[in-house]
Point group: C2
Chain length 130, copies 2
Amino acid sequence: MISEKKMREALQSYIDAFNRSDAEGVVGLFADDASVEDPVGRPAMTGKDKFGPFFKMAISTGATLELVAPIRASHGNAAAMAFDVKLTYQGAYQLIHVIDVMTFNDQGRITSMRAYWGPSDMEALGPPKK
Amino acid sequence: MISEKKMREALQSYIDAFNRSDAEGVVGLFADDASVEDPVGRPAMTGKDKFGPFFKMAISTGATLELVAPIRASHGNAAAMAFDVKLTYQGAYQLIHVIDVMTFNDQGRITSMRAYWGPSDMEALGPPKK
């Protein structure tokens, strides 16, 4: 089974790749047949042909991710992290408070991602600071 | 389906009941046939006769829970929160970094709880402050 250390590194790599707008880097962390449910409550995107374009779109918004607490591992093959998405949407600076839970295969690839956030986790912060 | 507001309130009630050592209050938030997997990777405790004693034991340690970020809701029937468990274990003050994910039924009771933390999420802080 994958180690806690490897899961932590993978989640940190996810954050880092996202923040340097490296969609290939993000998608490469996932197994080809992984499922991505973002947000939880919407249909999952299963397979790289589904979640690949999703991450490209998400990254193209210029959004960045900022951890708000240390990444959590587990006694199993799953890890979780709490972060804020920072983005500019329709001219307004916004935060979305999110918790991601990821599961892993033995090769260290992400097999599922579930992103917990809802409309009430979005916070409008007004126009971006100049 | 349960509202985001109700899920947030239930998770806050969980924290509050835990911190006033109210095991009945904690257990009462759960459906009778709920499952509790704490930590993720260990067998789930299914049914109040299994998870009831677990919460009594956990609360009897004197542990307290402190949110480290706002509770996250979702577009579905699930919500998540990142918190630290603070406890004194074998004379040493410890933190455990945890993320809980809970699902809910339409009556607003918790149907499952999964607690993401592993050995490497435990942090020894030395003897408690006098």
